[in-house]
């Protein structure tokens, strides 16, 4: 039985490696994205085998789902701009880049090979399943306020990391708005009528699933990031089915949603320090409600931010010359 599972592991490992190579080698960019998404799903499967369901969920939802959507949107944009949207073999939009010299490729291949061999040797000699945080986490779990260890790590033991991770998302959305600030309005990919109907049907269910994933995070795999990704998918469907159209008037609300998670997280972290405790040190008994509050707000922020990262431009910003109007007020 064990041997069969190990055989499965080996085959899955080889498949993952094969998909990685294929994604880089396949000529068509659309096929590349498909390979990458498949790679991500297989990776999630591998992590289930490694007893990491939270990570698998996050990888499937964010690493694969959101990244895949972003890649497809970009691909759509590239092909639309270069007018090759409907060409089946639309690969090279720009004139082909000067080829990398073969010698350089060979040298890099050798170097990467050596890196892999070196890392593999180091990995094999490392004490696998050796020292870890297991004991420390087990000791601290009763005081953490939640029952699921990964959630306890994310929102209590290493809450500082998680706050900064939400800050990274905020930085990303500001940077994306900045980059796309004077792009002409580009329509998001249009969905057919069937899909629009489907979207309207699916939306309420998806909201329920997202909230459930968030709620379940306290005791079982799931949590703010996975729940946020599901809700972000809802946002994408809303945007793509034109149920919701971002309007200039919504700009302030959007900004508020993006910072909501960071603001509440920061506020809680600092307020609990009032009574002589350390920053992020939740008072005993209040840990669970505070963590749920933070998780809820962070989920909303993540969902809004991921949807905005997909949508791109700040709502309602016209390209120049209307560009100066706001600054002049």
């Amino acid at each position: 039985m064990t041997d069969l599972l190990l055989l499965f592991d080996m085959l899955l490992g080889l498949l993952i490696i094969g998909l990685a190579v294929a994604a880089l080698r396949v000529r068509d960019l659309f096929a590349m994205v498909v390979m990458f998404v498949t790679f991500g799903l297989m990776t999630a499967l591998a992590w289930v085998r490694l007893a990491a369901p939270d990570v698998a969920l996050a990888e499937a939802a964010i690493g694969t789902g959101v990244t895949g959507a972003l890649l497809l949107k970009t691909l759509y944009h590239l092909r639309r701009v270069s007018g090759t949207l409907h060409l089946p073999e639309a690969l090279s939009e720009r004139p082909p880049d000067p080829q990398v010299p073969r010698a350089v490729i060979a040298a890099n291949a050798v170097m990467c090979g050596l890196v892999v061999i070196g890392l593999a040797a180091a990995f094999v000699t490392a004490p696998l399943g050796g020292p870890g945080f297991d004991a420390a986490v087990a000791d601290a779990m009763p005081e953490s306020g939640v029952d699921h260890p990964v959630t306890a790590v994310l929102l209590n033991f290493r809450a500082y990391d998680t706050l900064m991770e939400v800050v990274v998302l905020l930085a990303a959305v500001i940077a994306v708005w900045l980059v796309e600030r004077s792009l002409p309005q580009s329509d998001p990919p249009v969905m057919g009528e069937v899909y629009e109907g489907f979207a309207r049907l699916v939306l309420p269910g998806a909201v329920v699933v997202g909230v459930y994933v968030l709620w379940a995070g306290a005791v079982a795999p799931g949590g703010a990031f996975q729940g946020g990704a599901v809700l972000a998918a809802v946002g994408l469907l809303l945007l793509m089915s034109h149920v919701y159209e971002p309007a200039p008037a919504h700009r302030a609300a959007a900004r508020g949603l993006f910072v909501l998670g960071v603001a509440v997280f920061t506020g809680v972290a600092l307020l609990v320090a009032w009574g002589g405790r350390a920053v992020f040190e939740y008072p005993p008994g209040l840990a669970k409600p505070l963590i749920l509050l933070i998780e809820g707000m962070v989920t909303i922020s993540i969902a809004a931010t991921l949807a905005a990262l997909f949508h791109g431009r700040e709502p309602g910003v016209q390209p120049r010359p209307a560009d100066t109007s706001e600054g002049a007020q």
């Binding site: 990995f123 800050v167 900045l178 560009d323 002049a328």
Partner: protein, 494 residues
Amino acid sequence: MTEPLQFWMVALLFLPLIGAIAAFVLPRHAPIVGMGVALGVTGAAVGLCWQVQSVGTGTVALGGWGAPLGINLHVDGLSAAMLAMTAGVGAVVSMGAVNTFGGRVARSAETARPRQYFWPLWLLLLTGLNGVYLGTDIFNLYVMIEVIALAAVGLTVLSGSLAALRAGLDYMFASILGALLLLMGVGFVYLQLGRLDFGGLAGADPSGALVAALALMFVGLALKTALFPLHFWLPAAHANATAPASALLSALVVKAALYIIVRLLQHMPAPGEALVVLMGLMGTGAILWGSVQALRADRLKLLVAWSTVTQIGLIFVALAQAGVAGLAHSWKAAAVLILAHGVAKGAMFLAAGRIRAEVGHDRIRDLDRSPVRPALAQLAFAFAAVSLIGLPPSLGFIGKWMVMEGALAAGNWHWVVITMTGTLFSLAYFSRVFAGFLRFDRVEADVPGGVVEQRGRAPMDYAPLALAALGVALGLVAAPILEFLEIGRAGGWP
């Protein structure tokens, strides 16, 4: 939390974060918020340095857990000095930026949109930088340098020009790769030790996984700090950003990865002679190649950007000057050079931006053709160059002196030769700019009847001038600075 030292540490971390949120939500008040926060952070940094000077090091156990389960913030002399340098340079650059991106009325379409985004990005960058200097957990440092990276890329592409966008994308790629190499290194540290805090690293026995981890992290951070030959992304990114952004990128951003390297050398077990020699060789390459490129650069900001490459190289030569055994002392020379470069390069990029704004271009060979004389900006540039070249009594001079002294004491005369060569080169390439400042006869020769000399001055010129003068004057208080750096390091280098 009730201790003042801990209070200042937390303030340095959260003040810029709250400021970034406010600046993003209230875009019209962003310049006021940004300026206020920059000054507030400077005040907090002064308070922190005062406390460190009087009570020594401090630790905050976030969440009350303590390392290794939780994350600790820690401050010692080196951290406090980096925080103070960051806050000071940041405040002066903010003053310069108020000129570019400030005011309630945008000066032109070019700055109307960017000014909304500059302040939140810069305050997020400041959050990340302060987080790095206070951090003691290598995974947390990875998250922090990603905060820095995204904010820094945003600042790079602020102008929206094609050149800036291309440079920004290359920077982004280099940045992601550097961060992922660091993450892989973190993975190997976890495999071997099962913990990620500096304290756990310090007591570890050398092993294969730790060697792999150190190699991965070193390469990743070298890419982030643009150490030759991994510097390819830097000149275009720093030269094409707007002036305040260039000043932040060159003076502050590359220092974060550099600081982490210094910390890793301090805490990782036995970095090994080979790594130290490699750092010296890469630094040498940076000095030679960067100098040649600076001599060939046709634009002022490009020259300044290449000079950053050479100065980064010099800092690595400073680390390598006396081999592994000498690291216990040579890190101080590197730290002094980091501080000197931060102050001087911030001033220099701001001055270069002012010169370009007044003259209308920054082609070096045509600088002396302009009838506009931005004398104050030129003076600031010259003062900054004094510190970067290493003329007495500047802080840069002290740093180079320590490098040569340490190298001679260790019998490594080759590092002395490299340092001297770098100094001569820097004199040569900065002289190209000085020549453009000094000669005025070409304008009169070009225009029959001569032209009336115009002064290109603005109150904003005093910001870089003050910063550059500070860089020179700090050399006079080098002894207290060195003593301050050693706080918390009484036991010497492990």
